[in-house]
């Protein structure tokens, strides 16, 4: 199998709003990144891929089958939605277990598999806490755990790094990478190119519902490097963290727009993401979440689409 998913001229509109516009792309084996700014149509494409939306036009194939209302195929998929959709009263363990039992896993095995999956994503310590007490990064990891706990053939991950703290990002990327090395396929959306670059060279760029480029990551990297990359950190000590980060040569600017927010602009995002966990660990400052506003990516897309 060389193609995991294939879209040919797929359009989807919500009333007068166009979600996807004659989207054509193929997603190969291993890990493929779907990169685009917010509102580009990434989530719409994923909902189409998992059969929860029906395309108005075009054809879509996942693992060689039409995914719309294809219930048996769901056993082969692991889906991690972007937004928080957990029943807050369930513990992480109960949440993953309940979803595994929906797959038809026996209760005892569901419990074992849930424990193992939560361990893989680094949530063992919080497995028995209600998920409403989880930070955003922990919720992302719990959702990733439920997506991969039943050993699907394909993982579809909608912004799995969104809001996750630096340590959680490392853990999530490591888990995805291990899953792919073990023969699984991953289609993962993000608007932060530098993060996906760590685990794959295959990307599809989406903008305004259209696939505007696909293939090797290096060409697009060169374009993006011309624009300073913004990173927004949530921390209770933004000034102390700014002091520590100011030592990085590639950091262009540091702002404290709110009492618990630090906004950084860097010309070398890959180096920044590599060094950040170490600095956070050394300074022992808490970083609750990390996000990259997609303004730099937006600029590149404006350039690409003319």
């Amino acid at each position: 199998m060389s193609t995991v998913a294939e879209a040919t001229g797929v359009s989807k509109w919500y009333g007068e709003v166009l979600g996807l516009n004659a989207f054509t792309a193929s997603f190969g084996t291993g890990i493929t990144g779907l990169v685009g700014p917010n509102g580009a149509g990434k989530s719409t494409l994923f909902k189409l891929l998992i059969g929860q939306l029906r395309a108005n036009q075009g054809t879509l194939r996942l693992l060689g089958e039409n995914p719309w209302n294809n219930v048996p195929m769901m056993r082969r998929l692991g889906y991690c939605p972007e937004h928080n959709q957990l029943y807050g009263w369930l513990s992480g363990q109960q949440f993953v277990e309940a979803l595994l039992r929906l797959d038809g896993m026996p209760t005892a095995k569901a419990s074992t598999a849930a424990t193992a999956a939560l361990k893989v994503v680094g949530l063992s310590g919080a497995a028995h806490r209600p998920t409403r007490t989880y930070s955003r990064g922990m919720r992302q990891r719990a959702k990733l755990a439920q997506a991969l706990a039943h050993d699907p053939d394909v993982l579809i991950l909608d912004e799995p790094l969104s809001g996750a703290d630096p340590m959680a990002r490392v853990q999530i990327l490591r888990t995805i990478s291990d899953y792919a090395k073990d023969g699984g396929h991953v289609i993962m959306s993000t608007h932060v190119l530098y993060e996906i670059e760590r685990i794959t060279q295959n990307i599809v760029l989406i903008h305004n519902g259209k696939a505007i480029a696909s293939g090797d990551i290096h060409a697009i990297r060169a374009l993006i490097d011309e624009h300073p990359h913004a990173v927004r950190l949530e921390t209770s000590h933004p000034r102390q963290l700014a002091q520590a980060l100011a030592r990085m040569e590639h950091v262009v600017s540091l702002e404290v727009p709110a009492d618990d927010v630090l906004l950084i602009r860097t010309r070398k995002p890959d180096a920044f993401y590599k060094e950040l966990p170490g600095i956070v660990a050394d300074t022992k400052l808490d970083v609750r979440s990390l996000e990259s506003p997609d303004d730099s990516l937006e600029a590149v897309f404006r350039y690409l689409v003319g």
Partner: protein
């Protein structure tokens, strides 16, 4: 600094069938309801009050309903206890109104449907969460009342057993009606409060105007609009009590038709729901 992380390895796990998957939704749903004080209080008060009032009526039958014959027709009295209507409505609005609406609102439906679960499975499981809770109010007290009456020697076991059987049938009819209508209302909105208001509207918004219209115009046919009056007409016929203004076959047909149509429309509605979030 070195970080050691656990690694991921794929496993092969045998999977169970549809019944098992349905049970997973039901268990999760019931576990949630029995953690919610509102659901616990409604269940406790509903079952308790309906049962206590029914047994008090049996014990003090001479005082409350002088002249009521002590045969099967006596059990129309507990079956027409208005507390049943009130607590069934309350239970449907407290528990049932959010069953689908909250899943739509939180987009938990996305997670359900990303598993090998059909829309029909999802709806059956949701009905299986709500119906036992409604049945605890609509069925349980009506079954326990003749049982207690027979234990106290007030009625023969033959009459009591017949009354218990009829109570099960009537209670299930009422439970099925409220379950399907509540799930329909819940599937139409993302706001639980709207669905809850809809449940009250179905009960009181239909019953009160139907009664007023039938009295003011003098045409009892308006009472067919009220699910409670339809239920009472069927119950009167079942227990062999004196006939009311409504024909029981029509009343039964209306309740059954409303139940089936509501279930079917809910199914179509859920099939048509495209899970849009974010």
């Amino acid at each position: 600094m070195s970080i050691s992380l656990p690694t991921y390895t794929r496993r092969e796990i045998p999977l169970l069938g549809r019944r098992h998957r349905l049970r997973a939704i039901i268990v999760t749903g019931l576990r949630r309801e029995f953690k919610r004080p509102a659901a616990i209080v409604t269940t406790g008060l509903g079952v308790g009050l309906v049962l206590v009032t029914s047994i008090v009526i049996v014990l003090f039958r001479g005082l409350f309903i002088p002249g009521q014959p002590l045969d099967l027709s006596f059990f129309i009295v507990p079956a027409s206890n208005q507390a049943i209507l009130f607590f069934v409505t309350l239970m449907a609005s407290v528990v049932g109104s959010g069953l689908i609406a909250e899943d739509l609102n939180s987009a938990a439906l996305t997670l359900y449907l990303s598993r090998p679960i059909t829309h029909a499975d999802y709806l059956i499981a949701k009905a299986a969460i709500l119906s036992p809770l409604i049945a605890m109010i609509a069925v349980l007290p009506l079954v326990l009342t003749p049982f207690v009456a027979a234990l106290l020697g007030l009625f023969s076991w033959t009459v009591a057993l017949e009354a218990m059987g009829l109570a099960v049938l009537l209670g299930f009819l009422f439970t099925a009606f409220y379950t399907s209508v509540t799930l329909l209302l819940s599937s139409l909105t993302r706001r639980k409060s709207y669905a809850a208001a809809g449940v009250f509207a179905v009960t009181f918004g239909l019953s009160i105007p139907a009664t007023i219209l039938s009295l003011s115009i003098g045409n009892p046919a308006f009472l067919y609009l009220s699910p409670w009056e339809d239920y009472l007409a069927v119950a009167q016929a079942a227990f062999g009590a004196s006939a009311r203004q409504l024909d029981w076959p029509w009343a039964l047909a209306i309740l059954l038709a409303a139940t089936i149509v509501a279930s079917f429309v809910t199914y179509l509605r859920m099939k048509a729901v495209e899970v849009v979030s974010g």
